[in-house]
Amino acid sequence: MLRGERISKHFGGISALTNVDFHVEEGEILGLIGPNGSGKSTLFNVITNLLRPDGGNLFFKGKEITHMKTHEICKLGIARTFQEVRTFKEMTALENVLAGVYFRYRGLAVGKANQIKEAQDLLDSVNLSAKQNALAKDLSLVDQRKLEIARALSLRPSLLLLDEVLAGLIPGEVEQALEMIRRIKEPLALTIFIIEHNIKALTKLCTRIIVLNYGEKITEGSPSEVVKNPSVIQAYLGEKV
């Protein structure tokens, strides 16, 4: 579904991504792990064209998207959340999701009431209905993460990019989050590409995992393979294990 060939990105003298090849199969949940600074979020930024790649090509459903603008990529069906939560802080939760709903209904004459209803349903699916009129900046971090997911879903994407949505969650909340992800995946026919540090959670969720280190892909495979891979262990724990 999504394919990246030899993606490279430099910042000044630092190489954030070097010749990364990856692909996301339709319908799978693909995990992306790696130590801090390995280029995971950069990859997401390159996919959505918030950063332009210095080398390589991206293809989504067969179409080349390397040079498409971010909002056009959204039109094709890719939505994302952000590691540093980027909700619209001065707007209510409902308005945050409504902004996305507007996008989905572009060009169609749909009544305002229907749009609001859809936004409310989305908030419901992430258990935020009670707080729909709260300003985003007043919500807790967990709720803001949920809000970001709801907002991303409002675009009705076929590919959802989740960037460290589990960071800062206690184990109980992690379980809830995983359950929520599994719950929304099937009805919405989502393919999910998820960046996480919580490897244990990913092993429960993902069918396949890619590992980055210093901007390069060091391995990919099923969770059980990746976890046992010595270069992965070395990357996370350092030279001397």
Binding site: K69, T70, H71, A79, K89, Y102, R151, S154
Partner: protein, 337 residues
């Protein structure tokens, strides 16, 4: 139904200024001030839109004003067009320049955007002065009022003060209504999203470039329109009127009224036009005091004057209506400005 009409702020504002006209119609000076307030208010919207709603630091409103004013004046002077035709054309001219600026500053952000637009404003004024004889340089250009219309037995003088009063009033209300309608819907939400977080906005499908340019276009058009009204009313324009000072007054009207509130434009415009007049008794220290009061106003009322007026108005109306028994005690008259 009548009740609903009375809660519509446009209706109320129109009534208010209609009444004001009836009361003041013989006082030429005050009518003049009021027309200036309407024109300034229309222009103040050009500060409130980009700065307050989109977060673009636009500092060349004086230039858009000037563009409208000078296109109006020069089109009449050199092409002999009717002033009525010149109004939309000069709005268009200003809009085109706004488009040009918008495309140039696509990637410029924050304070740099402010400085670039400021530069445009300064350059525009310098161009006006130096492009003698086309623009008449520092000696300015005469701008005719709206012409008379001969309808057989009657002559309608469109150049008369009462006409300008109502024309400018309606123009202001119309522009404000248009802007409000625009901002209520998708455009408004998208612009607010862009203001708060450009990256997130792009990621939910908002075409940043389009809305960035749209904001500039609207600002330039409104500014140009107000500028041509200004030229038409004043009868004479010169480059000094469109220096950086004018941009400051315009933005000030927006800020004083409350830079995120559309009705703030009329409140702020009133402040900017009337306050210096009131301060006349201070003679030479007028502007000193003006600067000082500006500082104090911003410190104590950073939201602008509109919320205060709103509260006052609501309170007054509630008192009157409940005294007369028109309202149950529990039901409060709500009008949202």
């Amino acid at each position: 139904m009548m009740y609903r009409l009375f809660r519509n702020k446009y209706f109320l504002l129109f009534l208010l200024f209609l009444a004001t006209f009836v009361v003041l119609r013989d006082n030429s000076y005050l009518i003049y001030l009021l027309v200036m307030i309407f024109i300034y208010a229309t222009t103040a919207l050009t500060a409130i839109l980009p700065i307050g709603h989109v977060g673009q630091l636009v500092l060349c409103q004086g230039a858009f004003w000037g563009l409208g004013a000078y296109s109006y004046a020069l089109l009449i002077k050199y092409y002999g067009l009717s002033p009525w035709a010149c109004l939309p054309i000069s709005t268009l001219c200003s809009g085109l320049v706004g488009l040009g600026i918008a495309f140039s500053v696509m990637r410029t952000k924050g304070i740099y955007l402010g400085i670039v637009t400021l530069s445009f404003g300064v350059i525009f004024q310098l161009v006006l002065i130096n492009l003698n004889p086309l623009t008449g340089g520092t000696s300015g250009v005469n701008t005719p009022h709206f012409p008379r219309l001969n309808l057989g037995a009657y002559t309608i003088n469109f150049g008369s003060e009462p006409f300008y009063y109502f024309f400018c009033l309606v123009s202001f209300l119309g522009t404000m209504a248009f802007l409000e309608w625009l901002l209520k819907g998708k455009v408004g939400i998208y612009l607010r999203c862009i203001k708060q977080d450009e990256t997130a906005a792009k990621s939910i499908g908002i075409n940043f470039r389009f809305y960035h340019v749209l904001s500039f276009l609207l600002t330039a058009c409104m500014g140009g329109f107000a500028g041509s009204l200004f030229a038409s009313f004043q009868g004479f324009i010169s480059p000094t009127l469109f220096a950086f000072d004018s941009t400051l007054s315009i933005i000030l009207s927006g800020v004083v009224g409350g830079i995120t509130r559309l009705p703030g434009s009329i409140v702020g415009a009133s402040f900017v036009v009337i306050f210096p007049e009131i301060l006349r008794f201070l003679a030479d220290y007028r502007i000193t005091f003006y600067g000082l009061s500006l500082v104090f106003l911003l410190i104590f009322l950073p939201e602008g004057l509109t919320p205060l007026l709103e509260k006052g108005f609501r309170f007054l109306v509630n008192v009157i209506l409940s005294r007369r028994g028109y309202l149950k005690q529990s039901e409060k008259f709500k009008v949202d400005l």
